[in-house]
């Protein structure tokens, strides 16, 4: 807040993300997956699985994890860390909801 590097960008309305699912947001060449969790918290990570670049937005949300749709790697949405036995990390983005509006910070 008030931090120059954390400029918030309007993305969409929370309602426009189906419950327990995700939407993708294009920022230039980067695609970001914005997840709406079961309890309406929102998380954002790069839409690219460290394994074979699976589109994470199409996976199944399990608690605060996302299961990659291609080969079921499990990735934690808070820190982007892949659950053992697999290894890797995905970039995460600050995201917030205010008055039903979703904001993202790059």
């Amino acid at each position: 807040m008030g931090n120059a590097t954390a400029a918030w960008i309007e993305v969409c309305k929370l309602d426009e993300i189906p419950p327990s699912q995700a939407r993708t947001v294009n920022a230039g060449d980067t695609v970001i997956a914005v997840f709406r969790l079961t309890d309406d918290r929102v998380k954002a990570i790069e839409n690219r699985c460290p394994h074979k670049h699976g589109p994470l937005a199409e996976g199944i949300i399990s608690g605060d994890d996302i299961l990659c749709p291609l080969h079921n790697w499990r990735i934690h949405l808070d820190d982007g860390v892949v659950a053992a036995p697999d290894e890797g990390c995905v970039k995460t983005y600050p995201v917030k909801v205010e008055d039903g509006q979703v904001f993202l910070s790059l």
Partner: protein
């Protein structure tokens, strides 16, 4: 949020049960503090009799050890008796000065044994039988003294006498009435009981009033009203209990026989203060058995945790005597006044007596001696008001009917109705026990007790529980003996399906909650649950898109680079120039990188961007091919009799017809048909889920084939004459598969698992069953009326993006400079 402070006075059976119920309803609502006058954690008071009799030990009857209190964040003050409740300050004060403030207070002080105030009642060696300390005193006395007397021939007195007998003392029971346990037994059963106990070495003086306790410091004998006397050096008074309400009364809470509460277990005086257990008086009654007290505990928890209003209506109770070797059961109004309709069975040699009091063909009361196996069933029927006129002539031989091979028990429990209460103390039904055994994979009584509480209080139903274990595991073991669905649960597919069905669970999340899933589910279990719900309740459930794998959620196959493929239906593989032109035009317009003819006789547009999907389907205006789903994929056909020189049947038309009929249905796994016009089988029908091959004058239907990982040829199901019959049998087969298949189990392994013969019986031979299956399939088909892409396109046009909004592209600026 600050938790409310809940204080409880009394650490006994009813109170702690109420706390357990509260924790179950809402573990985070209260900061809980419990004061108990006894220096033990909560134990099973009922089992003091078996402890005294040497059948079990004090350690074994602890219900909640100190660790339990710690684990649940409960502050426990053992050995501290509350001496004062200051309602004005909302606090309680113990005898040692310890204080605790409360927002809500529960008084669960139980009752005090009644000591008859005859002269000499305060001498040494005169005691009651209520708690562990009393037990210890009796153990000690038995080492030094020889002659025990017990005043009171009720349940408690007889159990105490039996215990003392086992400790090597002489035991005489003095009873003021002629009949032992006269509150529970009629004179016949009372006599039989007495004879039985006399045989075990117990002595009796009935119809006898005690007038004096003799002795110097310690009791040395009793004097009776008839002038006789008895020597004794230990005297137990077991003549009844009085609700322990002095504390409440002193703090201005209204008490009558006990602490008066309303139907929600709140004291009528102070809504912040509740009372439960033997100390409470509800609608004029203070109960002295645990079953009603546990019901009260439930109601209290329901009320105090704000779940709504559930009124306690009072209870009907039944009694069992826990003296080993004597089976006594009684319930209701068993005396049967003059003119009453009474059924009796008396077998003096066998030592069996049963009596049922009926009124208008319904059971009003029951007394049983010697053989009490049917007790719970009769008690259930009594409460249900069941009309027993049909069973009348055989009722007393066995509730489950004549002709079973003696009382094998297992036969009996399997004949018992599901809602029959097995454990009266804890209100646990047969179904509760069986379900727990099935779903949690239990194999011992101990496990059953810890899961359901059955046999956890008086233990009178332990045999029944054992029989239920035997009968349940005996037949169902094989069925339930396979792996859980995945690591998120211990339940297997059948168990989950059964639970969804019986509990009417219609949401994936609900299923995971109710069935105690570990975690939030995964790509294996969530789609499975979603399928079972949709299959069982097609009309009353909504598809959970968040529990579908990417392909099914998107209605498009996801490719390795995150793009999708579009495969429209080309029914039976037969197309038209116009359709081909349309597909070609769309492929060009959207720059589709690959156009391929699939192995399923249709056209695949590969490499489509997510945001183009909707527009492409709009332009195509063709039904979705479901190439992505656990659904009907393709019906592969050959040209058949329309063109082929060998063709005996019109395979193409039949294939098209079937594909149109069975479109859009979700199955446990994908389903493929092949329809060939003759046994040359150009459509490779015999490696499909259903293979149909035209023969002279009819069709051969064979099923359970697979051309994938493990190639399996179909097995012949039947031969039929007409295309209509093919449709009917196919539908019946597939509906049976939908109902009994495990999610992700294709027909080949399914058919192997359930057996072709059993499938044949239901789908082919039994016409009724076939019709019923077809009817269920048709009913389901009627709910699947819209093509998913047509729906999506219509929504998009109405700008109702919500349901499918993930297809729409969002762009944001790459960097916002500060």
């Amino acid at each position: 949020m600050l938790k409310k402070k809940l204080v409880m006075i009394g650490n006994g059976m009813a109170g702690v049960r109420a706390i357990e119920e509260i924790l179950q309803a809402n573990p985070d609502m209260f900061d809980i503090t419990i004061f108990g006058a006894e220096k033990y954690p909560n134990y099973n008071r009922i089992m003091l009799s078996p402890v005294l009799a040497g059948d079990t030990t004090v350690e074994d009857i602890i219900l909640n050890d100190e660790q339990w209190y710690a684990d649940n964040g409960i502050t426990l003050h053992m050995g501290k008796r509350i001496k004062e409740i200051q309602r004005g300050y909302k606090k309680v004060i113990a005898e040692d000065g310890t204080e605790a403030e409360y927002d809500n207070l529960i008084i669960a002080t139980g009752s005090d044994p009644f000591i008859i105030p005859v002269p000499g009642h305060d001498k040494d060696g005169v005691m009651a039988f209520r708690d562990i300390d009393d037990c210890d005193k009796m153990f000690a006395a038995a080492k030094k003294y020889k002659k025990a007397a017990v005043i009171g021939g009720g349940l408690l007195g007889l159990e105490a006498a039996k215990g003392l007998l086992n400790l090597g003392m002489e035991a005489t029971v003095i009873h003021d009435q002629a009949t032992l346990m006269n509150m529970q037994l009629d004179s016949v059963a009372g006599e039989m009981l007495r004879a039985d106990l006399e045989e075990q070495g117990m002595h009796f003086k009935v119809s006898t009033l005690t007038t004096e306790v003799m002795g110097d410091k310690r009791v040395s004998g009793l004097k009776f009203k008839d002038g006789s006397s008895l020597d004794c050096d230990l005297l137990i008074m077991a003549v009844g209990i009085r609700p322990n309400m002095a504390l409440a009364k002193d703090s201005g809470i209204y008490c009558n026989r006990g602490i008066v509460v309303n139907d929600y277990m709140q004291t009528v005086t102070d809504p912040a203060i509740y009372s439960v257990g033997e100390c409470a008086e509800h609608r004029g009654i203070a109960y002295g058995l645990v079953a009603p007290l546990f019901e009260q505990a439930k109601v209290l928890a329901y009320q105090i945790t704000g779940q709504g209003l559930k009124a306690y209506q009072g209870s009907v109770v039944s009694t069992k005597l826990k003296v080993s070797g004597v089976d006594v059961f009684s319930a209701g109004d068993f005396m049967g006044g003059p003119g009453a309709d009474v059924l009796e069975l008396m077998d003096r040699v066998g030592g069996v007596y049963k009596k049922l009091v009926l009124e208008d063909d319904k059971i009003k009361g029951v007394v049983m001696f010697g053989d009490t196996a049917d007790g719970p069933t009769f008690f259930q029927w009594m409460q249900d008001g069941k009309d027993v006129s049909e069973q009348r002539s055989s009722l007393l031989f066995s509730a489950s009917g004549l002709g079973d091979s003696g009382h094998s028990g297992i036969d009996l429990v399997s004949a018992m109705a599901d809602d029959t209460i097995v454990c009266g103390c804890n209100g646990v039904s047969k179904k509760d026990v069986v379900d727990a055994i099935m779903t949690k994979g239990l194999t011992t009584r101990k496990e059953v007790t810890s899961c359901t509480k059955a046999a956890g209080s008086c233990g009178g139903c332990a045999d029944l529980v054992d029989q239920l274990l035997a009968s349940t595991l005996g037949t169902a073991f094989v069925e339930s003996d396979h792996e859980p669905i995945c690591g998120c649960t211990d339940l297997n597919h059948e168990q989950v399906k059964e639970q969804i069905k019986t509990k009417k669970l219609t949401m994936v999340r609900e299923v995971m909650n109710v069935l105690e899933w570990k975690g939030e589910g995964c790509q294996v279990c969530r789609p499975a649950i979603n399928y079972y719900i949709g299959m069982l309740f097609p009309e009353d459930s909504e598809d959970d898109r968040s529990s579908r794998i990417a392909n099914e959620k998107m209605h498009a196959n996801i490719q390795k680079d995150g793009t999708f493929s579009v495969i429209p239906r080309i029914y039976g593989g037969e197309t038209t120039p116009d359709d081909l032109i349309r597909i070609a035009t769309v492929a060009k317009k959207y720059d589709v990188p690959t156009v391929k003819i699939t192995g399923g006789q249709r056209i695949d547009l590969l490499g489509v961007k997510k945001e183009d999907l909707t527009a492409m389907w709009k332009d195509l205006d063709m039904p979705s091919g479901f190439a992505y789903g656990k659904a009907l994929r393709t019906v592969k056909t050959c040209v058949g009799s329309k063109w082929c020189r060998f063709g005996t049947q019109d395979s193409t038309s039949l294939g098209i017809h079937l594909e149109k009929r069975l479109d859009r249905i979700w199955f446990p796994a994908k389903v493929k048909f092949g329809v060939s016009g003759c046994p040359r089988n150009c459509a490779e029908a015999t490696i499909k889920d259903i293979g149909i091959v035209g023969v002279e004058g009819g069709w051969e239907i064979s099923t359970g084939g697979n051309g994938g990982v493990h190639v399996v040829a179909t097995e012949l199901l039947c031969i039929v004459e007409t295309a209509e019959e093919v449709e009917e049998v196919s539908k019946a087969y597939l509906q049976h598969y939908r109902e009994t298949g495990r999610h992700n189990e294709r027909t080949a392994p399914w058919q192997k698992r359930v057996g072709l013969d059993s499938i044949k019986a239901l789908v082919v031979d039994d016409l009724e069953s076939r019709k019923a299956l077809v009817a269920r399939m048709d009913a389901y088909i009627a709910t699947q009326d819209q093509d998913p892409w047509a729906a999506r396109v219509a929504d998009a046009e109405k700008e109702q993006l919500n349901k499918f909004s993930e297809y729409k592209r969002i762009d944001i600026p790459v960097r916002v400079e500060a």
